[in-house]
């Protein structure tokens, strides 16, 4: 199992992702986007950062990189793909998932710990949890507000594609517990298949036990399946 952690110009959580995956016993390596996916790729992580400086719109430029055609085709064939933070924005921009992540309600960058409620426990990313579990994971983003048309949001709900929602520590998805104004408190969603997911919070920052909480490791376990 080799997970390709795709590095775009401006990615900055690629090393962290590799370190966290390595700790979990998952073989992972950084792959420069222009080099294309290695043949042995059996999982793909789009890490956080500021690809192309977020200069046009977060994730918009990276979504045009040729490697994303390879990612989409691998995803269609069942290869697990996880987009985190900027990787989530790239995932939406390249149509791996529906919706979009845009400027926080506060209009400021926010780096803080949040609580997430697990909405699905039958995906590779959430097998380690039960539905309704509350996990604590950090966010660090300026453009993390999930936006989608009402009709398509209803579709997401109907298809049971919401993976995580922001909540308080008791699991209530309140406005106060919504750090960025996301529609439906959505923090992470599935693509058309359960092996493709994007989320704004950083599981790789809540995995290494020597620096704090480890609530996020279950998500990265999706690559170990």
């Amino acid at each position: 199992m080799t997970v390709a952690v795709v590095q775009f110009g401006g990615s900055n959580c690629d090393r962290d992702a590799v370190r966290a995956l390595t700790y979990l016993g998952v073989d992972a390596e950084r792959v420069w986007h222009e080099d294309g996916l290695p043949e042995e790729t059996t999982g793909i992580m789009l890490p956080g950062g500021f690809s192309y400086g977020d200069y046009l719109r977060a994730g918009a430029m990276a979504a045009q990189s040729p490697i994303m055609d390879e990612v989409r085709s691998k995803a269609e064939n069942g290869t697990p793909v996880l987009g985190v933070c900027n990787g989530a924005q790239i995932g939406c921009e390249s149509k791996l998932t529906d919706g979009a992540f845009t400027t926080n309600k506060s209009a400021r960058f926010q780096c803080e710990h949040v609580y997430l409620r697990v909405e699905r426990a039958d995906t590779p990313w959430t097998n380690a949890y039960d539905v309704g579990d509350v996990i604590e994971i950090p966010i660090a983003h300026g453009e993390g507000r999930f936006e989608i048309t009402e009709k398509r949001y209803d579709q997401l709900e109907a298809n049971n594609q919401v993976l995580f929602r922001y909540c308080d520590k008791d699991g209530n998805s309140t406005d106060d517990a919504n750090p960025n104004g996301s529609t439906g408190n959505v923090a992470g969603i599935l693509g058309t298949s359960e092996t493709v997911a994007v989320l704004m919070p950083h599981p790789e920052r809540a995995t290494l036990p020597d620096i704090g909480g480890t609530d996020g490791e279950g998500i990265l376990h999706g690559f170990a399946e």
């Binding site: 401006g10 962290d16 500021f50 780096c111 660090a140 036990p209 020597d210």
Partner: protein, 729 residues
């Protein structure tokens, strides 16, 4: 601004001719206060900069310091030998971006971050942590808030984009900064003996390769601009001297730099900062005892028809100058191209003069050492500062508590650090909001992937307190050094090294220079007492404007080490007794109390054995029976206790007087412990231990001072401490 006549005479005599226009601007900038330290260098010899741990001291782009092995990390630095150090090194540097941040707060602060990060890269290091110490005029002024907001956003956007966590720093507000805010940025990088490089040219015949952004006309004359008082219309007049940052390119440069290091392609490197290409290239070769031959036409440019002196002096950001052997040049070009970075081979190292040609003509031809080190030093008059008399206004405990706890200087800085990505890099074991940040250096325990928790914890603290140094520059600066060390010790770490950023007003005024001289001596004295070498620094003078000079401001960034990363938090556990380690305060001089209510007092007496104090505090922090530790500083004990209250834990505390409650003597911490006797045994005779009361399982602080009593619950304290957040909502 042009060259002073005396400088021009000296240069003409040395060259045996009039300098060319390009040479004139080169000398003007490199001999400016900002680059040549003409008024401060005579004072800087006061700093002790050596130690077993110091690999490279002051004078390079950044200092390099060896990290102790985990087992020796909790031993005091003067008790270690060379064998106690690992092959893992940190780099450490600090820089000011004061004038640019006034003119354009967003870009001024952002490019300050970019500059200090490149200083880290040019030592062969990967940047792993940033701190920012910020100083503004009174918070209730709209203009202060505008500058504050812009500076924080600039740091946030730049630091976050390049993936370097901003883990600490300080924010202070004081009348003296109305016309001159300060932005002091420090950066820690990680390298090792094999990877490290310097800014010292190695051999004649090697090529000089410029990588990064194309050169434009931005930031022309930034170094000389930083060496004058700000004029009344500086915001419009000086805008062209402020550079614009591009964090995306900086991040690409970091990646390219890493690959160049991986493949050992770099002989030496220097980032392009003050005085641009001319500054970087001439200093690089001068340091190695060489000259250079540079063809300015080869520099990749962003704008047409640039003149020789513009190419030489422009401070366009995100550029590095590398010395590369001829056989490696092609590979270096390939790597630059891989990361979409501009790259030009601009010339080579040679014996003899520093020579630049443009359109086939020689435009600069000077001895590099004369250019780099030939500036005459200023011998300025200084008036020794005097301490004020005692005149303390009387206020009720409730009024004083509420004013001090809600003061912008002591209020929560969460609004600031929430905007900084302080966790990228997955090394941040102790986050902002506590006394010191702790960065996990897993490398000393076996490698970057070692998650046993057994590596060296690198604690970082940075800041200065203008109320202290305005009251008593010498003792206040001593207190700043002790306070930063206390922050480290409170988290169980002992000092390893420090860098300073010395900010002052116009040194040609004897009282300003006297205050500046006193902060230099104060910092130097205390750092030496603490056996903490000052391995690098920066001086920023002429922070003077129509609203007067700034208070002398000695920002100190200090790193310390501990075995492992797990330190007690600065919040009550609710289960132990509360002790104050350190002498009770004996005056209110320099306190937030006096800043709020007026009045004056002498600065508090400092402890007689600061090293013993620091070692004892660290020993107590590392006891298993210690549940919480929090340093006492701005706002005194009142603020420390308020900050320790949580939703579910609090304390009942009794002290004798308001001086006990609001005095700001440094070198003190509040400790919550289940074993007070163990604490007393650990500290011995080095400092006094005072019983304060007990922690409780209720989110409430009950405070008795003499015959007055107040109590505030977690929500009430939170409301008081929200001053800054509330203002920006």
């Amino acid at each position: 601004m042009s060259l002073p006549e005396s400088d021009l005479d000296l240069i003409t005599a040395e060259l045996g001719r009039e300098p060319t226009p390009a040479e004139s601007v080169l000398f003007e900038n490199l001999w400016s206060e900002h680059c040549a330290y003409r008024s401060s260098r005579p004072l800087l010899s006061a700093f002790e900069s050596e130690g077993t741990q110091v690999v490279i001291g002051p004078g390079d782009d950044a200092a390099v310091v060896a990290v102790p092995l985990p087992d020796s990390s909790s031993t005091a630095v003067d008790k270690r030998t060379g064998d106690d150090y690992s092959e893992t090194y940190i780099t450490f540097g600090i820089e000011s971006h004061n004038h640019p941040s006034y003119v354009d707060p967003y870009d001024g602060a952002a490019t300050g971050v970019g500059g200090i990060v490149r200083d880290t890269m040019s030592m062969g290091a990967y940047p792993i942590a940033l701190t920012d110490s910020l100083y503004f005029g009174p918070f209730d002024r709209e203009h202060s808030q505008y500058l504050f907001d812009g500076v924080v956003e600039g740091i946030s956007n730049y630091g976050n984009s390049i993936g370097v966590p901003t883990v600490g720093g300080s924010v202070e507000f004081h009348e003296g900064y109305i016309g001159n805010p300060l932005v002091n940025v420090a950066c820690v990088g990680l390298t090792n003996g094999e990877r490290m490089i310097t800014a010292e040219a190695q051999a004649a015949g090697n090529k000089l390769v410029l990588i990064g952004n194309a050169t434009g006309r931005d930031g022309l004359g930034g170094a000389s601009f930083a060496s004058e008082d700000l004029s009344e219309d500086a915001e419009t007049e000086d805008r062209p001297a402020v550079q614009v940052g591009d964090p995306y390119t900086e991040k690409l440069l970091i990646e390219a730099n890493e690959q160049l290091l991986d493949e050992s392609l770099v002989e030496s490197a220097r980032d392009l900062g003050a005085a641009g290409l001319g500054g970087a290239s001439s200093e690089l070769v001068a340091k190695g005892g060489f000259g250079a031959k540079i063809d300015l036409n080869r520099v990749h440019q962003r704008e047409p028809n640039m003149k020789a002196l513009e190419i030489l002096l422009a401070e366009s950001q995100e550029r590095m100058c590398y010395e590369v052997t001829p056989e490696n040049v092609d590979r270096v070009k390939t790597i630059a191209e891989r990361f979409d970075l501009g790259c030009s081979v601009i010339g080579e190292v040679q014996d003899g003069n520093y020579v630049c040609t443009f359109d086939g003509e020689v435009v600069v031809d000077v001895a590099p050492v004369f250019l780099a080190d030939g500036a005459p030093m200023n011998d300025l008059d200084a008036t020794e500062p005097q301490q004020p008399e005692t005149d303390i206004p009387d206020r009720s405990l409730a009024e004083a508590f509420e004013a001090v706890v809600s003061a912008p200087n002591t209020a929560s800085k969460a609004w600031v650090y929430r905007q900084y990505d302080h966790e990228v890099g997955t090394r941040t074991a102790m986050k902002p909001g506590d006394d010191a940040a702790i960065i996990a250096l897993r490398e000393t325990a076996g490698g970057e992937d070692d998650i046993s928790g057994a590596g060296t914890g690198l604690a970082i603290s940075a800041g200065a307190v203008p109320n202290w140094t305005a009251t008593a520059p010498f003792a206040g600066a001593q207190a700043v050094a002790l306070e930063n060390a206390t922050n480290l010790a409170s988290k169980g770490a002992l000092p390893l090294a420090a860098v300073d950023c010395l900010n002052g007003g116009n040194p040609e005024k004897p009282d300003v220079y006297g205050g500046f001289k006193a902060i230099v001596d104060g910092l130097a004295t205390m750092c030496e007492t603490l056996s903490t070498p000052v391995v690098g620094g920066n001086v920023s003078l002429y922070n003077d404007s129509v609203s007067g000079p700034i208070p002398p401001t000695p920002t100190l960034a200090m790193v310390g080490t501990r075995s492992g990363y797990n330190a007690p938090p600065a919040s009550f556990a609710g289960e132990g007794e509360l002790l104050l380690l350190g002498e009770p305060a004996d005056s209110l001089g320099g306190s937030e109390y006096l800043a709020q209510f007026g009045g004056t007092d002498r600065f508090p007496t400092l402890p007689s054995d600061p090293s013993g104090v620091i070692e004892s505090i660290a020993a107590v922090a590392n006891l298993e029976t210690t549940l919480a530790t929090h340093d006492v500083s701005n706002g005194g004990l009142a603020v420390t206790l308020a900050e320790m209250v949580t939703e579910t834990t609090g304390a009942t505390v009794t002290v004798d007087s308001q001086i006990d409650c609001f005095g700001e003597t440094p070198g003190r911490v509040v400790v919550e412990t289940t074993d007070p006797e163990a604490v007393k045994t650990a500290v011995g005779e080095t400092l006094s231990v005072t019983q304060l009361g007990a922690a409780t399982n209720e989110g409430l602080l009950s405070l008795t001072v003499g015959d007055e009593e107040v109590s505030y619950d977690h929500d009430a304290i939170g409301a008081l401490r929200r001053t800054i957040t509330a203002a920006f909502e």
